[in-house]
Assembly symmetry: C2
Homo-oligomer: 247 residues x 2
Amino acid sequence: MATEFDHPLQPLVRKLESLTILSDEEREAIQGLPFKRRALNARQDVVRDGDTASQCCLVLEGWACRYKIIREGKRQIFSFHIAGDIPDLQGLHIPLMDHGFATMTTATVAFIPHEAMRDLTARFSGVAAKLWHDMLVDAGIFRQWLICMGRRSAYDQMAHLFCELYLRQEAVGLAADNRCSMPITQVDLADATGLSYVHVNRVLQEMRAKGLITLRGGVLVIEDWDELVRVAEFDGAYLHQRKRAVA
Amino acid sequence: MATEFDHPLQPLVRKLESLTILSDEEREAIQGLPFKRRALNARQDVVRDGDTASQCCLVLEGWACRYKIIREGKRQIFSFHIAGDIPDLQGLHIPLMDHGFATMTTATVAFIPHEAMRDLTARFSGVAAKLWHDMLVDAGIFRQWLICMGRRSAYDQMAHLFCELYLRQEAVGLAADNRCSMPITQVDLADATGLSYVHVNRVLQEMRAKGLITLRGGVLVIEDWDELVRVAEFDGAYLHQRKRAVA
DNA sequence: CGCTAATTTGACCTGGATCAACTACGGTGG
DNA sequence: CCACCGTAGTTGATCCAGGTCAAATTAGCG
């Protein structure tokens, strides 16, 4: 858990260290990044579809998501983001955003100028590699979501999502003991899975009834991890985490 | 179209030039890459799920796809690849493959050692940037597929896929006049869209009946591009092509 | 010509969508 | 302290896009 003594950008360090090892020099360079800290309300757009970005946004606290609105008000959420994530890191190389990015809860973020990121990666190629690594893991997560949407039942798909979100939080010290925060509504869950919110509700009830998980008041409790992993056919290797690479 | 006078790695040059501009120096450096050319049969694995890669594979001719097999023999295809694509480029940074990659047709590929790629990108940071750019576009394609699977009907989703595959081929000189090669079976199409092959067949018939497209003998003819774009709600910006960025 | 893979068809079924209330609950203001 | 209100969660009834099964037809190809 973060303490008041941590460096403000500590979540980013923690995130990268969950994937690879940082040298002291690299850690210091990251902590030396210039940034503007901002407190945001829940459900607030950070970057809009079509924007051209000149800075990137590191999540320090709270949850965010990337999404796209399509015809008839339908929304598809691509990914959820927690402390340490830089959801718009790709904007560094393709400034034109082809989707939006918004907070889900009240959140604290740090805006870091592209300029500064470029300078950092130019001076420390190891950091550049680690940021790329992170972006590739991100792409791997997309692939898993694709599998889930294409070839799994609603039940299995949601089980998979819970496995992922638990492990990602665990990796950065935000989850333990089969319990983590999950401050998203059933409508959000529906937009992420491609299901209707009514069906999400029914699947959650079924999971609760079967003693798999409980999701209430923004808290996910995993009652039976092994069974959750089994139905989701979950293999955490795609997250490429240093510890607990396999669930 | 490629001629016998082209450099063997010309497809890669052409692909990168569809996204950005290469300097003469960069073009020459790319053409100087060491490689092993291989002719492959159709439906042949190139890289298997779980492999650790030490070279990457450039498609010179024919089609390939990335995919993953899940329980009960279900398969999900993530992406189709044509001449100029390096489907396993990410293996350069995350050698452990979390999915497979196989040819769909007979194909010619070039294997390029990671060593040589790393050397190239170290010497030419512009080439490195352009390869990354390509990988980010790839991630953008995943996001579009996610939208299609999550929030569009089978009909609209397939229309979107045809728009994408036509434009990607056009960008590298493999398509023109609303006509392009599409050497994939209806089963492949089903595995890519998450539909059943029976339903794919019915949707194709409906499209044919409505004068939208014809797909027969591995050739896609787009009879009504505007209507195809309209039903797919297609916006080609995500492909980040230099010309015709918007459909 | 004969085989196999691919496409097509028909009948039937079901997971999940849609529609329409209704309930629970945490503010918030009087 | 309670009435009010908006958001999130639940429930039931009904519907349909797309799945499944099984068989028939057609296209390629050696």
